[in-house]
Symmetry: C2
Subunit: 344 residues, 2 copies
Amino acid sequence: MTATPDPRKQFVRQVLNQAQTLGLSQPAEGEADAPVNIALCKYWGKRDPVLNLPVNSSLSISLPGFGTTTRLLWRPDSDVTGLQRLTLNGTPISPEDPVFQRLAAFLALFPAADQGRFDIDTHNQVPTAAGLASSASGFAALVKVMNQAFGWELSQEKCSLLARLGSGSASRSLYDGFAIWHQGLRADGLDSYATALPQVWPSLCVGLVEVDTSQKSIGSTAGMQQTVSDCDLYQAWPKQAQKALSTLQLALETQDFATLGKTAEHNALSMHATMIATWPPILYWQPQSVAAMQTVWQLRADGVGVYFTMDAGPNLKLLFEEQDRPAVEQAFGNLTILRPFARA
Amino acid sequence: MTATPDPRKQFVRQVLNQAQTLGLSQPAEGEADAPVNIALCKYWGKRDPVLNLPVNSSLSISLPGFGTTTRLLWRPDSDVTGLQRLTLNGTPISPEDPVFQRLAAFLALFPAADQGRFDIDTHNQVPTAAGLASSASGFAALVKVMNQAFGWELSQEKCSLLARLGSGSASRSLYDGFAIWHQGLRADGLDSYATALPQVWPSLCVGLVEVDTSQKSIGSTAGMQQTVSDCDLYQAWPKQAQKALSTLQLALETQDFATLGKTAEHNALSMHATMIATWPPILYWQPQSVAAMQTVWQLRADGVGVYFTMDAGPNLKLLFEEQDRPAVEQAFGNLTILRPFARA
């Protein structure tokens, strides 16, 4: 009569190691934040959907100024345990809400959830209208605040491992600047975490083009799984991504913007191509997405160094350098421009 | 000092065999027509671009009532030879025009072009606005009229071989109804021709959605070649196409419309996906193409049996059966509806 052990609980225990038993007799509290990130080489396809292990390594740029700030209060309690209260941007979230349930399920992987109650306030400074997911910054901030509140003193790599369990791309939101999430080889997932890259790129601009604010018709996890299992063309994706990753790393080292831009755009379009070629087809693009792509391509034909990337949604994220900012701003009306390496 | 022999001339000589020497002392004339066709499994990628040999077999439906009618007059002449006069829909075409030059180059492959002059009048009844290529029906009609005028008495398969040399998809325009262009295995291309399929489908409707009438930014041959040489995802295409072809043949035998429709749509989207995933990206879609796709998908969600296919252009060709015609007509404003098997 033994229950099947949850491999995620086992994973958390391994990562926490000695740290897990510390600090569970006294109330704990803290506050931490984490940025959203935009992948230039996409995470697309899971080799293990339970442990969130990816088919390919990915590379991202974080957007400081946009992300999640999370306050945590934990109190030992034998009557009520686990997530008891969650507010999002000041509004209480019902325990029936999928957001509450996803967070509660994540916290339940930690020993502290059996020994006390969590009260969590989380604030997203994320332009959700521009299609930036808050789950990456959300889980990264949550792991950071637990690490701090419980005094685990885990390295950033270990925090990245834990954040990955909540949302794959959260593994990269532990860092500012560029980061690589290494796919790893191990079945237990202990080598699949992100590390920061040393390069800075002061003139780099990211432009958020708002296309559509409505709900996605299919979630990115579902889209990913269907593509991996049903799309003939997907078989070429891992190789495409591996090539893109090497090219991007070289472009970062040599500060070669055109290579950075075209590799990111090609990688994003290849990811969308695998979705378009699955059945039933998954097309996240809206008519305005195509219009925005055409604007980018026209700008390039006119000599402006601008490229785009897209996640599992209809919005474009533009990549360009400071000197091309006026031309890009002129071509796109409603554009939010961020400079990932600008000093605040 | 031997010139490199043109493999296309060699090919024509092999196909014509004895027929080539007949009828070259007297003037010859005739008139023939051929329909346009829409591929349900696409021709995408050439294994030999000179002989127009495809990577994969393809399957099409011809659209009677739309196509090309060509009149040919040939006169033996030792002073001026080859194509001397071409009219298209009654308008004389200049020898500098690419249309004239393509036709002249094709005719130059035939012995008759060295021994006399061609005068050709060609009329297209093709809704070019809806993105139907006239090159398929044009080359098929031209080969048919030569076969007739010169008394070659070639089989339809041999005419298909010759038409293929002008334009790959022309190989399928020799026939009404469904046709398969067999990719063939031989390096000399003599086994790469189309044959007719016996099935009829009286309730089948084809709807032409007009999206855009402007020029293509990249021709389909150039797009095809770039995709074959540069796109990682293309490597999965031949397998996709082979599967689609088998599935379509079975759907024709069992008159299973849903399978016919979804296989055609999936195959077309897979072809476009290989273009989207090449670099620089090739996107034939316009914003209105995406809007039309969304309309099709919404109709299907509402229980209407409608699917689409697209060639290397922005327009959608809808596939549905007679009973769903009212719903499809209501959802699409400017729709040209054809019934390939309706008795005229």
